[in-house]
Symmetry: C2
Subunit: 329 residues, 2 copies
DNA sequence: TTGTAGGCGTTATCAT
DNA sequence: ATGATAACGCCTACAA
């Protein structure tokens, strides 16, 4: 393996000089820079990132901490988008990444998790899918031992930024569109998991809308479960004019049940997963660019690692209507 | 950060002794072992894997090299299962893992890829979704610079193992079941991507079956495309009694089109993705345990890294009939 | 502006 | 059986 030492020899300079050139230090003459870069080219040198990580305060290694459902799910595609978006951006920014899932630390304490991360020379973490009851994750964030970027949860401190769309507004928008298109005056709202951060935000958006449009609204906890959404639909949808769901999966459950019940109610979802195109009936939903959000999170993390303070970052979303013909490839 | 040095001091032994205990070297007295382990406990020491990786020929770091479709797809769930299965097993075996996607190296040569992997101290690679035309990947494998485990492609050499189900037999089985259940004498077979390894194997299985059952068979290239499967169905399904597809996505495309055409033909797929449960009509399909296969690949890779020769590993599959009621949660 | 040298946390070789 | 000590490849004061 060709090392910085070889480059130094080839270029006729000292190792440290090579390092300086590679890391864009000031105070290096153009001439030496060229010599070094030429040697790098000729030897096809690629710095060993493991050694760099060990050596010290380099930008730092990043961990993706993902709350994946243990069983396969249609929404696994979201996780995949998160991962690929992050890895892609990380490669661009020259950051090393390791991927971890919540379930790997199921019986571990926050301290054990922290130690593990340190043993991996991790300095920055991106957290996906944390809910209010994930104590270990909260302790991890509060410890401020690492720079963190949290997706979809409003957790911010000096070393922690949050990245997400405006869930309140998005829920408001998609519901409003659906309800106005169909001229409804009453609505069944199937909310997400009780302890989810986004659940509360989306619910808030829905309540705002109900107040504004003077809607009769019935709220039920769907727990992000397709099955539960179906059951709620069975019981409560008949007397309402529309069904607004806090997730696509629940929207699908609701829609399927409505079809079975042989009644029509407009339904809208949230997320924009592919599966929405397969249900037969078109539904409005909120389309998030998961890969983009994840890439944005990596950028934000790099800023944090460079000394920036934690803050709240809001990303864009769009309203879409998923149609089989548009999805099929 | 507590290091091996601290442990040594705390236990009153030399650093090298601690290392020996940690790595289960022979020639260490029970007494010192205990002393060291006690110190490890008390200090909550976790070895720094980055330093270990740098230091030398430890078991080695592993890269997952995944051929992800660039656009979101319903089959992204497969990739997610692959990743989580591998990471889980790797954590169990104490292997470090980095995840990479093919598209990250789109315009890179094999040499560049190899250099990158070396710069990451990678010694073992698991490759998912390689096709016959991925020259860079083939060069990577042939270079034998790394230990490789290839999923679903019969590439084996001294340093390379393959892990997969018996695609020939699985295709044979699922098609046979479907055809016999429906007593068919003619069949439309929609094959996968022309240059895919599994495509050829599955096709072989189908041909064996056709010969055995004396079926009239029409073969078409579906390219693993739902859209293409739909078009093929439009054109050719009417005159056949069954439609056998080399993937679930194509089976879904075919089934949807059959419903639109308002004719019934039994359809079977391959993979066992969740989406199959949402189509309305039940279909037979081959269910692979993607996470399990991926874990198995990690184990195989470890064996390779420990000096074992490359070989072919065949894993189990099962035939299932996906039903919405079974999938919904 | 350039080079020297110490250190990051381990592993592994070689004495003891 | 145990302990010094030299790598591993890179970064970074600090000296020249």
């Amino acid at each position: 393996m060709v090392s910085i030492k070889d480059v130094a020899k080839h270029a006729g300079v000292a190792i440290s000089t090579v390092s300086k050139v590679l890391n864009h230090y000031p105070n290096v003459s153009e001439e030496t820079k060229e010599k070094v870069n030429k040697a790098v080219e000729e030897l096809n040198f690629v710095p060993n990132s493991v050694a760099a990580a060990l050596s010290s305060k380099q930008a730092g290694r990043v961990a993706l901490l993902i709350n994946l459902n243990e069983k396969t799910q249609a929404i696994d595609e979201i996780g995949m988008q998160y991962i690929s978006g992050a890895l892609n951006k990380a490669m661009e920014l020259n950051l090393d990444v390791i991927t971890l899932f919540f379930f790997m630390f199921k019986n571990k304490t926050a301290e054990e998790l922290i130690r593990y991360l340190k043993s991996q020379s991790i300095t920055g973490i991106i957290i996906y899918g944390v809910s209010k009851t994930d104590k270990v994750i909260h302790r991890l964030i509060e410890s401020q031992e690492f720079k963190c970027v949290v997706i979809d949860a409003p957790l911010v401190n000096e070393n922690t930024s949050s990245v997400s769309i405006d869930h309140r507004k998005a829920q408001y928008d998609v519901a409003k569109k659906t309800i106005e298109e169909n001229n409804c005056k009453s609505v069944l709202y199937i909310a997400g998991k009780k302890n989810g951060y986004v659940t509360a935000q989306r619910l808030e958006g829905m309540r705002d809308l109900a107040k504004e449009l003077n809607l009769t609204m019935l709220e039920r906890d769907g727990d992000f479960s397709e099955l539960q959404a179906r059951n709620i639909t069975t019981r409560y949808a008949r007397n309402k004019e529309a069904v607004v769901c806090a997730s696509d999966l629940m929207a699908i459950g609701a829609m399927k049940e409505l079809i079975r019940m042989d009644i029509f109610r407009p339904v809208c979802g949230f997320d924009g997963i592919i599966l929405m195109g397969y249900v037969g009936k078109q539904m409005n939903t909120v389309c998030q660019d998961f890969a983009g959000i994840s890439g944005r999170a990596v950028e934000e993390l790099q800023l944090l690692m460079n000394g920036q303070e934690g803050r709240r970052v809001t990303t864009e979303y769009s309203l879409v209507r998923m149609k089989y013909e548009d999805i099929i490839r």
